[in-house]
C-alpha cells in the first residue's frame, strides 16, 4: 500500500477550503440581479384553501410577484412525484395523492406550501408574505399514526380510502404459521420507531436562473443528486428539456438523505425565475427545515420471533404501520418496504419470515429516506426480538446469536436478500473482546454498589446498500436504474480528471476517489481532480445515498481506469515499438516485458494526444474513457456493536461508558474517512435512541419546531467510539467494497436500547429513552418488583 493508495489514511483534499471558510455552499453564491423568495406556508395541518388575497401584499415595497397553485396549474407544471411504484398485496397500485409544488385546493400539513412572494430583498419578501391573506376551511387533522386508518378519520387524499397508500407483504405467512406451531418459545413485542428530523446543519437552499437569450435554465441546489433532480424537473414536472437545463450541486453541508428528494421550493425557484425574469433565491430558515424537510422513520411494529427449546430460530412475523406523511416524497414508498423487510432475517438463518407493511397518509410532513432508510427500522425489529428472546429464555445474548448465524454463503433469505459473503461470528467475537464482555458482571456489581444501574446491549446488524442492480430495482417498481457513471479523462500533460456521477457532501470523495486513481495509474494525488455535482460537466449520474458511492461509484471509476490502461497499452506498444501483448503497466510505467524499455504514464498520455506515433485509422487519438457500472447485487455490510451504559436512577440520565463497533465493510479505501462515517452514523443512532423525537400534537401542530424543543446530540451527550473491522470482500463488485455510510446509524439505536433495558430490567421503554422516560421506567419497574415480592 502506498502512502496515497487504497487503504491509506490520506488527509483530505477538500479540507483546505472548508477549514479556511472558502467552501461554496449554495447560500454563499450570488447571481446578478437576484431576487428573494419567501414561502407562505399553511399554519393548519389540514384545510381547504378558500381563497388567497394578494392585493395588499402585491403593493408592498420591492414585491415583484406573488405566485400560487393556480399559477402552477395555469403553466401546466407536473406534480412532484414518487419514483417507486409499490403494489399492494391485492396487486393494486399504491394510492398516489396529487402533489403540486404549490398547494391546489387543500393543504395537508403544517408548513405546506401555499404561495411564494418574490421581492428585491429577503426582508421585503418576508414582510409581504405576512400580508398574504389566505382564508382556510379547517378540517380535522389526522395526526396520530395509529388512528390514521380509522373509518371516521378525515380523508387526506380523495383517491386513498382510509388514508391507506398500500398494504404490502413479503414472505410466506403459512410457513411462519407452521413454524410457530413447532416453537417452544415465542417472543412478542410491540414498539414504535420514533420519527426523526434529519437536520443537516446546512439548511436546504436553491437559486433558479433563466437566460432568455439561450432559453436555458440553471439551478443551484443543495441536492445530493443533481442529475436526478434535473431528470425529475424536466421529464415529470415539465420545466424544460434536459439539454436546456443545468443543475449544480456545489458544496453541500450534509444530506443524510434529506437532500435527495425533489422539493417544492427548488421547483418554484427555477420556475419562477422565468416568470420574474431574474434569478430567484431561497434558503430555508431552520424552522422551515423542521416543518418541510422530509422526516424519517415513524413506524409502529409488532414482531413475533419463534424459537425451539435450544434457541434455534424457527420463524419471524412482523406487522408494521408506516407513516408516509401528507404526500409521497420521491423515494418514500420503498423505504418501509423494499429497504426494510428484506433485512428482517438479520444475521440469522431463519427458515420462515412473513412481513406486512401498511403505509398510510397523515397530516404531517412527508416521510422519506433518512440515514439508513428502512434498515435501522429492520435492525431494531430483529435485534430487539433476539435480545429479549435471550432474556426470556435465560440465554446469553451472544450465545443465542451464535446458534443462529448464517455460516455458509451465498445464503438466500426468505425475504429476497441473497447474502453474498460474511463472517458474523468473527465480528461478534472481536467486539466482545474489545468490550471486555466477560467482565461485565463485575462492572455491573461495582456500579450497583455505588447506586448506579449498568447495562450492556448488542446489535448484530446487517444491512443492504450499494443500491442497486437496475434490473432488480425495476422489477421492484423503481422508476430509474441505479448504476453509476465515470469518465476518466487524461490531459496531454498526464493530469487526470475524473467526472463522477456520485456527489460528495461530507464523504470525502475528492480524496478517496483520487486514492484509487493514484494507485491504479501510479500518479501522485495532486495530478488528479475529482469533478462532481454539475450536469454540464458530468453527463449523467445517480448521485449519493444508500451507501453507494464506494461500491457503485468507485466501481465505475475502476472500470474506466481499466479501459484507460488498455488504451494506454495500445499507444505504448507503438511508442515503445513492441507488440501489444508484450506491454505491461505497473507502478505508473508502461514497460516492454522482459526488457528495460519503458515510458511513464505522462509520456504515453502526451503521445496519445500528439498522435504522431500510431496509426490513427486504427487507434483513435486521445486518452479518455467512460464506464457505466451496474451492480449485480446489493452489498451487505454487517457487524456487531456493543454498548455499555450506566444510568443514574435518581435522574434517569444515561451515561454511555463504552461503545464498540466492529464492522465488515469489505475493501476500505481510507480508514480515517470510514471511521468518521461510523462515528457520525453512531451519533445519529444515539440521537434517535436517547434524545431526538419529532412530535406533532393532536391538531397536527409541529410541537418540536426548533432546536429549543428537538434535542440534537451534542459533544457532551456522546462518548468516543472504539471502531475496528473484520473483512470479507464483497464478491459482487470489482473493488470488493460494501459501503459504510449508513451502518453506524443502522446498528446503534437497538444496541443502546438493549443496554438501557438491560440496565433497568424492563423491556417497557420507548425511544427516545430520555432521562424523564428512563426515570419513569425505573419507578414503574421498582413498583412492579415490589408488588411481585408481596
Amino acid at each position: 500500500m502506498s502512502a496515497t493508495g487504497v487503504g491509506a489514511r490520506v488527509r483530505r483534499v477538500e479540507d483546505q477550503r472548508f477549514i479556511t471558510g472558502r467552501g461554496q455552499y449554495t447560500d454563499d453564491i450570488h447571481r446578478p440581479y437576484e431576487t428573494h423568495a419567501c414561502f407562505v406556508r399553511s399554519p393548519h395541518a389540514h384545510a381547504t384553501i378558500k381563497g388567497i388575497d394578494k392585493k395588499k401584499a402585491e403593493k408592498m415595497p420591492g414585491v415583484l410577484a406573488i405566485l400560487t397553485g393556480d399559477d402552477i396549474a395555469a403553466d401546466k407544471l407536473g406534480d412532484l412525484f414518487c419514483g417507486w411504484m409499490v403494489l399492494s398485496k391485492d396487486g393494486s397500485q399504491m394510492k398516489n395523492g396529487s402533489h403540486p409544488a404549490l398547494a391546489k385546493g387543500k393543504v395537508r400539513y403544517v408548513g405546506d406550501h401555499v404561495a411564494v412572494v418574490i421581492a428585491e430583498t429577503l426582508d421585503q419578501a418576508k414582510d409581504a408574505a405576512a400580508e398574504v391573506n389566505v382564508s382556510y376551511g379547517t378540517l380535522p387533522a389526522v395526526a396520530d399514526l395509529a388512528k390514521a386508518r380509522d373509518p371516521k378519520a378525515a380523508l387526506i387524499h380523495d383517491n386513498a380510502p382510509n388514508n391507506t397508500v398500500y398494504e404490502w407483504v413479503l414472505g410466506d405467512a403459512d410457513a411462519v404459521k407452521a413454524a410457530f406451531e413447532q416453537a417452544k418459545h415465542i417472543t412478542k413485542l410491540t414498539f414504535a420507531n420514533n420519527r426523526l428530523i434529519p437536520n443537516a446543519i446546512e439548511p436546504r437552499a436553491a437559486i433558479g436562473e433563466y437566460e432568455p437569450g439561450t432559453d436555458t435554465f440553471t439551478l443551484w441546489s443543495t441536492s445530493q443528486n443533481p442529475h436526478v433532480l434535473r431528470l425529475g424537473l424536466s421529464a415529470f414536472i415539465g420545466l424544460a428539456p434536459e439539454h436546456k437545463f443545468r443543475v449544480i450541486s456545489p458544496d453541500v453541508g450534509g444530506g443524510f438523505g434529506s437532500k435527495i428528494f425533489i422539493y417544492p421550493e427548488e421547483t418554484v425557484c427555477i420556475w419562477a425565475s422565468k416568470k420574474v425574469g431574474r434569478p430567484v433565491r431561497w434558503t430555508a430558515e431552520r424552522s422551515e427545515s423542521f416543518q418541510a424537510d422530509a422526516h424519517g422513520r415513524d413506524h409502529i411494529t409488532t414482531v413475533e420471533l419463534g424459537l425451539d427449546a435450544n434457541g434455534k430460530m424457527l420463524g419471524l412475523r412482523v406487522k408494521t404501520l408506516a407513516n408516509l406523511g401528507a404526500y409521497l416524497s420521491t423515494f418514500s414508498s420503498a423505504v418501509p418496504t423494499f429497504l426494510y423487510a428484506p433485512l428482517l432475517s438479520g444475521q440469522y438463518a431463519i427458515p420462515a419470515i412473513f412481513c406486512e407493511v401498511d403505509g398510510v397518509y397523515t397530516n404531517t410532513a412527508p416521510v422519506d429516506a433518512y440515514r439508513g432508510a428502512g434498515r435501522p427500522e429492520a435492525c431494531y425489529v430483529i435485534e430487539r426480538a433476539v435480545e429479549v428472546a435471550a432474556r426470556e429464555m435465560n440465554m446469553d445474548p451472544a450465545e443465542l446469536r451464535k446458534r443462529n448465524f448464517v455460516r455458509t454463503f451465498p445464503y438466500q433469505t426468505p425475504v429476497a436478500s441473497l447474502y453474498d459473503a460474511g463472517d458474523y461470528q468473527a465480528s461478534l467475537d472481536k467486539a466482545m473482546q474489545m468490550a471486555d464482555y466477560k467482565n461485565f458482571g463485575k462492572r455491573k456489581s461495582e456500579a450497583a454498589r455505588k447506586g448506579k444501574l449498568r447495562g450492556i446491549g448488542f446489535s448484530a446488524y446487517i444491512e443492504a446498500c450499494g443500491v442497486a442492480p437496475s434490473n432488480l430495482a425495476g422489477a421492484l417498481g423503481c422508476g430509474v436504474g441505479l448504476w453509476e457513471s465515470a469518465d476518466v479523462a487524461v490531459t496531454p500533460t498526464g493530469m487526470v480528471e475524473v467526472l463522477t456521477g456520485s456527489h460528495s457532501h461530507g464523504q470525502g470523495h475528492e480524496t478517496t476517489f483520487a486514492q484509487l486513481v493514484s494507485e491504479r495509474l501510479g500518479i501522485p494525488m495532486d495530478h488528479i481532480s475529482i469533478i462532481h455535482g454539475d450536469t454540464d460537466k458530468v453527463q449523467f449520474g445517480m448521485g449519493t445515498y444508500g451507501s453507494r458511492s464506494g461500491s457503485v461509484g468507485m466501481s465505475a471509476i475502476a472500470m474506466a481506469l481499466d479501459k484507460v490502461i488498455a488504451k494506454g497499452k495500445q499507444v505504448a506498444a507503438h511508442v515503445l515499438e513492441a507488440a501489444d501483448a508484450d506491454i505491461e503497466f505497473k507502478d505508473g510505467r508502461f514497460k516492454v516485458a522482459g526488457t528495460d524499455k519503458s515510458a511513464a504514464f505522462g509520456e504515453i498520455a502526451l503521445a496519445a494526444y500528439v498522435a504522431h506515433k500510431f496509426p490513427t485509422a486504427h487507434i483513435e487519438p486521445g486518452l479518455k474513457e467512460h464506464a457505466f457500472y451496474d451492480p449485480t447485487n446489493f452489498t451487505f455490510p454487517a457487524g456487531t456493536h456493543i454498548c455499555e451504559v450506566e444510568i443514574d436512577p435518581d435522574t434517569g440520565v444515561t451515561d454511555i461508558v463504552n461503545w464498540v463497533a466492529v464492522d465488515d465493510f469489505g475493501t476500505i479505501i481510507n480508514p480515517m474517512i470510514v471511521e468518521g462515517q461510523v462515528h457520525g452514523g453512531i451519533a445519529q443512532g444515539i440521537g434517535q435512541a436517547l434524545l431526538e423525537n419529532c412530535v406533532y400534537d393532536s391538531n397536527g401542530q409541529l410541537v418540536t419546531g426548533s432546536y429549543m424543543d428537538y434535542a440534537m446530540p451534542r459533544a457532551d451527550n456522546l462518548p468516543s467510539f472504539k471502531v475496528d473491522y473484520t473483512t470479507t470482500k464483497c464478491p459482487s463488485n470489482p473493488l470488493g467494497m460494501k459501503g459504510c455510510g449508513e451502518a453506524g446509524a443502522i446498528a446503534s439505536p437497538v444496541a443502546l436500547m438493549n443496554a438501557i433495558t438491560n440496565a433497568i430490567g424492563t423491556e417497557d421503554i420507548a425511544m427516545p429513552a430520555t432521562s424523564k422516560n428512563v426515570w419513569h421506567a425505573i419507578q414503574k419497574t421498582k413498583s412492579q418488583q415490589r408488588r411481585a415480592a408481596e
Binding site: 443537516a200 446543519i201 446546512e202 461530507g506 464523504q507 462515528h679 457520525g680 451519533a683
Partner: protein
C-alpha cells in the same frame, strides 16, 4: 441607514446596514465573508461563531450595529501569509470535519476554549465546552481529537492569536 465602522480580520471597514441586520448577515452579505454560516434560528448551532474583541460570539445573536468600533475575526482571518493556524491544521490532520459547514464555528469556538482553558484540554472539558456547536456529520469524536491536538500545537506559540 446607519453605518457601522469596525475592523474585520485586521482591515478597517465601514458598512451601511439596516438597524436590525445581524452581524452574521453583515459579514456574509455586505463583506462577502461567507465562511461564517447560518445553521439555525435559535442561536444554538454555533455555525456563526466569530470573535468580537477577542471573545467568541454567536454572530447570529448580535446586531451589526453593536459591533461599532469592534475588532472582529472570522475564519478567513486565521491563516497568516498563506500559513494555516495550528488549530486549522489540527482539524485536517485529525479528520475533524466532513461536510465542513459547522467547521468555521467549531474552530472559532475551539480557539476561545484554548484562551480560557489553556493548552492541555481533556476530553470531558472539550465536550462540555462544545455544547454550543452542533455537528451532524462527525459524531464529535474526531473534533475532540482535533481540538486537543490544536490546543497543544498552539502552546508552541505558533499561529495568529485570535
Amino acid at each position: 441607514m446607519p453605518t457601522v465602522a469596525m475592523k474585520v480580520n485586521g482591515r478597517s471597514v465601514s458598512v451601511e446596514v439596516d438597524p436590525h441586520t445581524l452581524l452574521v448577515q453583515a459579514l456574509r452579505g455586505k463583506l462577502r465573508l461567507t465562511g461564517t454560516h447560518v445553521g439555525c434560528d435559535t442561536s444554538q448551532c454555533g455555525s456563526c461563531v466569530v470573535h468580537v474583541n477577542g471573545r467568541a460570539i454567536k454572530s447570529c445573536t448580535m446586531l451589526a450595529v453593536q459591533a461599532e468600533g469592534a475588532e472582529v475575526t472570522t475564519i478567513e482571518g486565521l491563516a497568516t501569509n498563506g500559513h494555516l493556524h495550528p488549530m486549522q491544521e489540527a482539524f485536517r490532520d485529525n479528520h475533524g470535519l466532513q461536510c465542513g459547514f459547522c467547521t468555521p464555528g467549531m474552530i472559532m469556538s475551539a480557539l476561545d476554549m484554548v484562551k480560557r482553558k489553556g493548552h492541555e484540554l481533556d476530553e470531558r472539558t472539550i465536550r462540555e465546552e462544545l455544547e454550543g456547536n452542533f455537528c451532524r456529520c462527525t459524531g464529535y469524536h474526531n473534533i475532540v481529537k482535533a481540538v486537543a491536538a490544536g490546543a497543544k500545537a498552539m502552546k508552541n506559540g505558533k499561529g495568529a492569536s485570535a
